[in-house]
Subunit: 286 residues, 2 copies
């Protein structure tokens, strides 16, 4: 696997590949790859001539009391998994390469859709995400970039940023990949004890209960959320950060479901914060 | 002159020109062109295969009580002047083309160097500038972009944004162009009455006095600024917004001049706000 540490190396690699008209797919990650990341890489492999994955634990998107220092890292393992998924090159810069002057003066900021859900409890998080993704887009200049639906709000923020700033890149949202028992894949799942791992299933099960009620005709957000919360509260180690039903594009609160909505969960299992979501297709199909 | 109104037209034009390896120079303006703008166009003409000028009065960078509605516009005259200066195409979009959703959710923000001088009296101005320039860069994807030194702080903000966000474009700062009597060229000079026009000379003359004292060995910022303010205060219609000496890169206040500094002025002549500046090369040459 070709591992690039310097921005100049990435620019040279991209120039060589795209000079022959080759299309470039970018898969931005923080590493410690799981099947979710690899499904992004495989999608990029199918739709582009060349695939580059970035592996960078971006300090700008971590809060003061979050897990920046303990976030799991394993570049050797990651490079083997990425190669098997069809990645051609990995961009794994040091913090000093991405932020020679940290924190830098310039940030990219998206309002409104960043002020709810994860944005409400992680101030500055999405500004850090938007800023580092802008940097990666400017360094790689990809034709397409791939993000996972598990971070649904992040996907929306990136799509909105790309539209608002006319960035010449196509954003692809790839469905959530789950463990056999339904737990959404996450690098943070390694934090879970055996008992926590068992109780963590409540996120997916609560969402399945929600979908079943919706399929049976329930359209009241309040009633659907009550069912979601009831299921999660059965687990003694589970504490709900948020459980909300929002419009699928602007993340505005919804009382009665008519258009597409996202049912979004953030739940602390012990000290580990997990997120999950499903999209419900509104009857109007909008 | 080829006048493009749509972003898609610009992308098509650029694709045709750059596909043959042609280098693209971008000259962003708000129109109502004067010799200052045309010197940017000529520099772009010398250094690139193709030159595109944007003409867009960007509402995002105007304050509520500023002159957005009265800002002078004359696209017919501009296109003739631009053609004579070697511009190949003009991008003159409607506000609805640049901001289909206004104000948009996403902005680019630069701190510290935007909080002094013009940034201190025009809140949100440089965020509006950084955001629209980012959009223009993403639409045109130029090899080089040209900005005038008269807006010295704007040049610094753009340079810093490009560095912080790894934008693949080279920023060129072009010297101030002055009328025969020394008044810095500005689209806003048309606002001046005959008497105001005469008194407006105090900006350039104050800066010349400052440079003379500096050349004679004066290194105290306080003493240099006293001389600057004394000259401006001789004009009854002149009111100083600011008169400052700052480090040339980070715009930090300076007491004794050792490194390169900018002497920056903003003065209201009647109701018209004019700016001007000079750079003094520090003895350390840094």
């Amino acid at each position: 696997m070709l591992i690039l540490k310097k921005i100049s190396e990435v620019r040279d690699w991209v120039r060589r590949k795209s000079s022959k008209g080759g299309q470039i797919g970018l898969v931005p990650t923080m590493g410690y790859l799981h099947e979710g990341h690899l499904s992004l890489a495989r999608a990029a492999r199918r739709e582009n001539d060349f695939v580059i994955m970035s592996i960078f634990v971006n300090p700008l998107q971590f809060g003061a009391n979050e897990d920046l220092d303990t976030y799991p890292r394993d570049l050797k393992r990651d490079s083997q998994l990425a190669a098997a998924a069809g990645v051609d090159a990995i961009f794994a810069p040091e913090v000093s390469e991405m932020y020679p002057y940290y924190p830098q003066l310039t940030t990219v900021n998206v309002t409104e859709i960043t002020e709810v859900l994860c944005g409400a409890v992680r101030p500055g998080h999405f500004s850090g995400v938007a800023t580092v993704v802008t940097k990666l887009f400017n360094i790689v200049q990809p034709d397409r970039a791939y993000f996972g639906q598990k971070d649904y709000q992040q996907c929306l923020v990136i799509k909105r940023m790309v539209a608002d700033l006319n960035m010449p890149v196509e954003i692809k949202m790839v469905p959530i990949v789950r463990e056999k028992d339904g737990l959404a894949m996450s690098s943070r799942n390694v934090y879970l004890s055996e008992e926590e791992r068992r109780q963590a299933l409540c996120l997916n099960e609560a969402l399945r209960i929600c979908r079943d009620l919706y399929d049976k005709g329930e359209r009241s957000a309040r009633k659907l959320l009550d069912a979601v919360q009831d299921r999660i509260r059965q687990e003694p180690l589970a504490a709900i950060d948020y459980a909300e039903i929002c419009s699928a594009e602007l993340l505005q609160e919804v009382d009665e479901i008519k258009e597409n909505v996202v049912v979004a969960l953030a739940v602390r299992i012990g000290s580990t914060r997990l997120i999950d979501n499903i999209v419900l297709e509104g009857d109007t199909g909008v």
